[in-house]
Amino acid sequence: MAMDAGEKATLVDALSAIVGARHVLSSDYDVMLYEYDASIDRARPDVVVFPASTAQVSAIVKLANQRQVPFVARGAGTGLSGGAVPLEGGIIIAFQRMNRILDIDYTNLRAVVQPGVVNLHLSNAMTPNGFYYVPDPSSQKSCTIGGNVGENSGGPHTLIYGVTTNHVLGLEVVLPDGKIVEVGSPTLDTPGYDLTGLLVGSEGTLGIVTSITVRIVHQAEAVKTLVGVFNTVDDATNTVSGIVEAGIIPAALEMMDQIILQAVEDYIHAGYPLDAAAVLLIEVEGLRDTVDEQVSRVVAVCEANHARAVRIAKDEQERTLLWSGRKEAFGAVGRVSHEFYVQDGVVPRTKLPFVLDRVNEICASYGLRVGNVFHAGDGNLHPLILFDSQIPGQVEKVRQAGFDILKVCADAGGSITGEHGVGMEKSDAMPLIFSDDDLDVMRRVREAFNPHNLCNPGKVIPTPGRCADIKLLIGQERSPAYAKAEAEGAWH
């Protein structure tokens, strides 16, 4: 798989001819920074290239095809499933330079962005006009919209308004053979198959997005955030079901358990109780006239489920603080345990109490500590399994516990990933929810777009017989890129 020095030198020359020598990295020291994303997998690219235009991306992909070199698109490297990790080496196409907002059309409620635009930058650009872009992954301060399209990212506020796919209308794509094609459009119901919908969440395996047309929406008039404090996890999860059953769909409905609360409070000092078994962070939004009424209904459900206390954020400052506790939770846990492993299973909301109990039992049976911080309203779990790779055998236990958790989610009628993507690490778990025939259909789709499998090989669909090559490299020394992503809150 590795490229010899001569091959690499000619590749670098050819890429330099396309983008300029300044925009190609190839020394071991430089490319090492690109062997990670925010998952536990790593693999080193041979070359990293920074195109500035769609035409350059197309030329790079055509070159890769001529030389039969694999290529992988990369946004900010904040992904949690190895989507941007070049499993078979080759070229990383990094989108830092394609980071312009091309158009914001407030009249028609559309924006057009290049893939390297940071998620939050788009919303920030519209704040003065009262508009925003809905999907808000916790890494939104650093993750890119191109990466969000690749992974079909979610976020706390997608409960009511949907995830990335519900907000993307059209794409310009460089196909795996280098041809440039537009799919979808700024208008609705483009005749033909919905290729936009197929490409969103295809984890960079069906093509490389070079321009994205999204919906934008007006901000709500009023937002209220509250925290319900519970003495048992069951009371908290029953509250989640109770809220949904009462016909209330909050803008966000998040849960954190005790391990997470203690880590967060130590780091952020948001005023979360240290002795509670769980808290719910709930946000309702809408009209000024009715938000208070919604809040009282939510409070009533919390109290009916034995909430010890319910605290309503009194101002924007307190609201921001509570949210930073939630959004920085992964970073906070990183301070408690040097290493942790996050899963992303989804279950029907009503199964949350049962499944959380099972998650805790599974981890206890392997002698592992686990903290839970997740999108409770969607039933989207994020158990963080804490571990120490210096202890012999612990990495293997973590893997096994993670797999057991996904199996519980699948058995409960759920899914193995709600928003992080399948990537490398979860492709082995795909058979838990899909039959051989189901997976074969996905393979047909990949063959239709990516017949030579040079475009992000080894992701999404399990490759029989290759699993042994995919090593989990947990516990190796953290790379500078990893540390940087962590410091910037790139964690979900």
Partner: protein, 444 residues
């Protein structure tokens, strides 16, 4: 076909529970663009559907999936059409997990039937295409049918969380799942929705549901012209109100409205119907905001509809999406008013009658044209209108037309460069071309 009885025997052997229709009258009911199938099969199970498709592949029969037959006018005439596989007997509600706000339903259930069942637990599926008494879930999804409420709730692609499909080659496959958030594997749901039965037969669908709102109410506002109405639409969407539907009706389209609504609309005017669904207090506030915004854009609020009057009104609006000749035009919202003005001029030039409704907040216009037998003039006018839409990054699809008109102008328009990919996908899903060809975009 000479060996029809042999074929009937084979179909019975392959799928014993399947009911077969062969009488001339039955076959005629399943005709598409004057092409009548040789046989109609009504399978009783998903496995039967797969067996029928496999046999059809072996016998090189061209198969068309049929639900409630409400969208069969959509598409070019089929190249060949031998066997209709009708999903009418696959009509069970498999699960309704009310506490999870999800359901799983077989494709042959009608939308009205499903809504009635969901209503017993205070919920609904937020899809409102016309003809809900006849239209089946599978047909609605295959045709990507929608209605005025898509403004608030989205279309099928936003509400489907999982599908079970029998591909052209008989493979039974699932995509998505039963949970509201799921990124495991390719999102094939999107691919099947709107594929008009060219990739497979949808046999089951899982949806996310919505609690029925406490109150629904519609404000009718009259405007002298479409541009003032559309300015109001744009202003509403740039405010804090969240309308469920914003429907624009030109004067001609108002003729078929119920008497109560028409009584509120003296004289020729454009009508903007703004509908809200929420708790009563929120509806009241939003209606007040809407009145103020409309008045500042030279609109004249005429009255409110609620309860039965509200439901009857919206049923009549949805019915305007259907007719002898209907074009569905998708535009950016700022292009809607100029397009409507231009359409009127073009129709006058060609001496055609026209009437238009628009899901104004979504930029989707349904333009009815007549008389249906003025083929040359219709084709000329639609050609011009399509060019206008394309110039504005939009599209024009003829959703209803006599077969003879389809010979003069393609209902989808010229295919775009991504057709190559679509063709490759079609071959992967239906390698033997078992599913009827010729109806969809680019002859797929």
């Amino acid at each position: 076909m000479t060996n029809l009885s042999l074929l009937t025997d084979q179909l019975h052997a392959a799928a014993p529970q399947t009911e077969l229709l062969t009488s001339v009258g039955d076959l005629r009911r399943f005709a598409v663009d004057d092409v009548t199938p040789q046989l109609v099969a009504l399978p009783a199970s998903v496995e039967d559907v797969a067996a029928l498709l496999k046999l059809a592949g072996e016998q090189q029969l061209a198969v068309l999936p049929v639900g409630g037959s409400t969208e069969l006018t959509l598409g070019q005439p089929p190249e060949r059409y031998d066997l209709a596989i009708c999903t009418a007997r696959l009509n069970a509600l498999l699960e309704h997990e009310a506490a999870d706000l999800t359901c799983s339903v077989q494709a042959g259930m009608t939308l009205a039937d499903l809504q009635q069942r969901l209503a017993t637990k205070g919920q609904f599926l937020a899809l409102d295409p016309p003809n809900n008494e006849q239209a089946t879930i599978g047909g609605i999804l295959a045709a990507n049918a929608s209605g005025p409420q898509r403004l608030r709730y989205g279309a099928a692609r936003d509400l489907v969380i999982g599908l079970r499909v029998v591909l052209g080659d008989g493979t039974i496959a699932r995509s998505g799942g039963k949970v509201v958030k799921n990124v495991a594997g390719y999102d094939l749901n999107k691919l099947y929705i709107g594929s008009l039965g060219t990739l497979g037969i949808i046999v089951e669908a899982n949806f996310k549901l919505i609690p029925r709102p406490e109150h629904e109410e519609t404000l009718l506002i009259a405007f002298e012209n479409a541009s003032a109405a559309m300015e109001t639409v744009i202003a509403l969407l740039s405010s804090v109100v969240t309308p469920t539907a914003l429907e624009l009706l030109d004067p001609a389209a108002q003729q078929s409205l119920p008497e109560q609504a028409r009584a509120m609309l003296p004289g020729p005017a454009y009508l903007l119907a703004t509908s809200f669904s929420s708790v009563a207090k929120a509806v009241t506030r939003q209606l007040a905001d809407s009145r103020a915004i409309a008045t500042s854009h030279a609109g004249s609020p005429r009255g409110n509809l609620e309860g039965t009057a509200h439901d009857t009104f919206w049923a009549a609006v949805r019915a305007r999406q259907i007719g002898p000749v209907v074009c569905k035009v998708s535009l950016l919202i700022n292009d809607v008013a100029p397009f409507l003005a231009e359409a009127q001029t073009i129709c006058q030039e060609q001496q055609l009658e026209s009437s238009a409704i628009a899901h104004a907040g979504s930029g989707v216009i349904y333009l009815q044209l007549g008389p249906a037998d003025a083929l040359d003039r219709l084709a000329a006018a639609i050609g011009k209108l399509r060019n206008l839409a394309l110039q504005d990054k939009g599209s024009l699809v003829i959703t209803h037309a006599p077969t003879a008109l389809k010979a003069q102008i393609n209902v989808w328009g010229e295919a775009r460069p991504d057709l190559r990919l679509m063709g490759t996908l079609k071959r992967k899903f239906d390698p033997a071309d078992t599913l009827v060809k010729g109806r969809f975009v680019g002859g797929l």
